[in-house]
Symmetry: C2
Subunit: 387 residues, 2 copies
């Protein structure tokens, strides 16, 4: 399989935009990515769209040709991929395979979600469709309660790290202050997190990611083609792994190690030929603060049970040894579900190009994205390197 690189990126600001339509979000982010790549629309040979739940939240399916028409891409093949909150990374991976195989030279990958126009209970039901509805959501086990159970189990195994965990939210909010695309730009403290409105003990409102509207797009090209057409620093996809796990939490081997992350990361590191220590920075899936702690352990950045301490010590802050979620993450940048995995890639490519502006990291050569769906029933890990 041949090498593939990112040559274009674009995203909308994430936030509450009830007046914006799916096509409006697609048009802005997709147009930006195509313009950023400096290619013509006729160069794009296929479109891979990610969307989690516009069918339920907006009554709109068949997002592939919708986006293709909005972006004037003609009669190219267009599909939609869905894997809950990992939908964006899954679409990216399908596009990667298609280009790496030689089938297409240049493709567009996009993700979109529109959520904030709906009532809270409708959004909750929509998100709950990512769990097993018969065995979990239908019995009241929505995601905050599931991840609260995971947090309690983590505390049982590794000690009560409630305050250290809160530092994930504090750091992500701090990072978002410098990201103009972030939904929330508001500094918070550990005290605020600890004393926030209770959601499911021990999680408060400040441990939970946001409900957002937004879109993010990426243009992928065979690296040989990328070198010929791109005026910017090329960002090569040096590793990508995907793994799954049971949909139900009851069937999982462990609640505090996500096997899907471990397996997807193993594949990605092997493909890239690197160890976790070679990664300079990462965007990881912080749907809840406890998730970020477990993720940075499962990715091999910190020993199991030591992630929370590392966060509290500032190792994952923007000025730490391994900056995590410099974009602000799902917690503060926002979580427009279908766009999230692609917005993570947007941030990594931005950093690897040195286009991060006020939030630019000093040492950005190898970046990683980690994106899960449901209770880590789906996971994609990708590794990028500036060339």
């Amino acid at each position: 399989m041949r090498s593939v690189s990112v040559i274009g990126i674009g995203e909308t600001r994430m936030g509450r935009f009830p007046e914006r339509s799916l096509r409006d979000l697609i048009l802005e982010a997709g147009g930006k990515a195509i313009d950023d790549a400096g290619i013509g629309r006729e160069d794009i040979k296929a479109l891979f769209m990610s969307n989690f739940n516009a069918q339920f939240l907006c009554g709109q399916g068949h997002i592939g040709p919708l986006a293709s028409e909005v972006l004037s891409l003609g009669t190219i093949p267009a599909i939609r991929v869905e894997g809950a909150c990992a939908s964006g990374s899954l679409a990216f991976r399908q596009a990667l395979i298609a280009v790496a195989s030689g089938l297409y030279d240049v493709v567009l990958v996009g993700g979109v979600e529109k959520m904030t126009h709906q009532a809270t209970e409708t959004v909750t039901a929509g998100i709950a469709s990512a769990s097993d509805v018969e065995l979990e959501a239908g019995l009241g086990a929505t995601f905050p309660s599931i991840f609260a159970m995971i947090a309690n189990r983590y505390f049982h195994e590794h000690g009560n790290v409630r305050d250290e965990m809160a530092m994930c939210a504090v750091q992500n909010h701090e990072n978002a202050l410098l990201n103009p695309d972030a939904q929330l730009q508001k500094r918070i403290t550990v005290d605020q997190v600890r004393n926030g409105a209770p959601i499911a003990s021990p999680l408060t409102i400040f441990d939970c990611s946001l409900v957002s509207d937004g879109a993010a797009f990426v243009v992928l090209a065979a690296t040989d083609v990328a070198k010929a057409v791109s005026q910017k620093r090329i960002v090569e996809v040096v590793g990508c792994g995907q793994a799954g796990d049971t949909l139900t939490i009851a069937s999982k081997r462990s609640l505090t190690t996500f096997d899907a992350t471990v397996n997807a990361a193993r594949q990605a590191y092997a493909m890239a030929g690197i160890k976790p220590s070679a990664v300079n920075f990462a965007e990881v899936h912080d749907c809840f603060t406890i998730t970020q702690i477990i993720n940075i352990e499962d990715l091999g950045f910190f020993e199991k049970g030591r992630g929370a301490l590392a966060v509290a010590q500032g190792k994952t802050a923007a000025d730490g040894v391994l900056p995590i979620n410099v974009s602000g993450g799902l917690k503060a940048k926002g979580h427009p579900i279908g766009a999230t995995g692609l917005s993570q890639i947007y941030e990594v490519v931005t950093q690897l190009r040195g286009e991060g502006g006020a939030r630019q990291l000093g040492n950005a050569e190898i970046g990683l994205t980690h994106n899960i769906g449901g209770t880590a029933a789906t996971c994609v890990v990708s590794i990028f390197r500036g060339r």
Copy 2:
């Protein structure tokens, strides 16, 4: 890219099974396909699921890991692909690309839909999400009315073929009499079609396909691997093409030629190195009778404007020169949307293996499947050959 073959198939009966769950349908059809392939679950390296709209109709998304857990497939990568009524063929094509690229040797592809438990108006809204909801469905243009407009335009261009068109339904019902998996096993006449309950003029209830529950699965393997493990006649995927078109009917170049079909078919024929005349039989997307007429023209089987006459002359009947929808098609076998594209492949493989029983065709060496989504905004054409 290497050659890929089908080594296992399985499907449920299509029909009204409001008491059956998604997992129940998946378990039956997926289990049958794995058993039919004669392989172990550990041999399956990835799962590609198709589902159109369980998020809206059943509140269940994230069908990839749901199916993986139900079928005891462990932690393999699992995704869901959606492209309206073409979802099944899209999932098949993604799986095909992954195996052909060398990424996986053996993968499982499945489709499922559960529709009949919902009220008619809910099903109608669910199906309408495959059109442009802002510009079409939201203004009342549901699919029966859109395809009625297409039929009227076809009559304007090529003459009133109302009765010839009805023969599509008559033949598909006739074929379904011999298919034990078919939803309807009832002979109908042209008079019944013509005088059926009006839906959108000129279409009556008998011009429209069914609302169905069901599932269908296919096991794909690299042909080299297939030869080593399969005890049955291997069915090679010799051609596959995918194309898109605008989602809205208003933006299409023509209402009576589906460009997505023409382009997807061109790719598939080129890959297979054959002309349309080499195809012995086909399963084509008969969501409405007019669609079947347009499809058999766009696929190159009959001249534009001559398809209806060919049907009326019996050329597409089971004993004709080019049997179409010997399974009974969407019209009489049923149309569980996410499963439809894979059920078409189920039929073609069954015929190419000579396992068609009472409906076995005499000359089945090359078979074709044609599957569209929305108003032909998505199309996949695949060509299969017994080896």
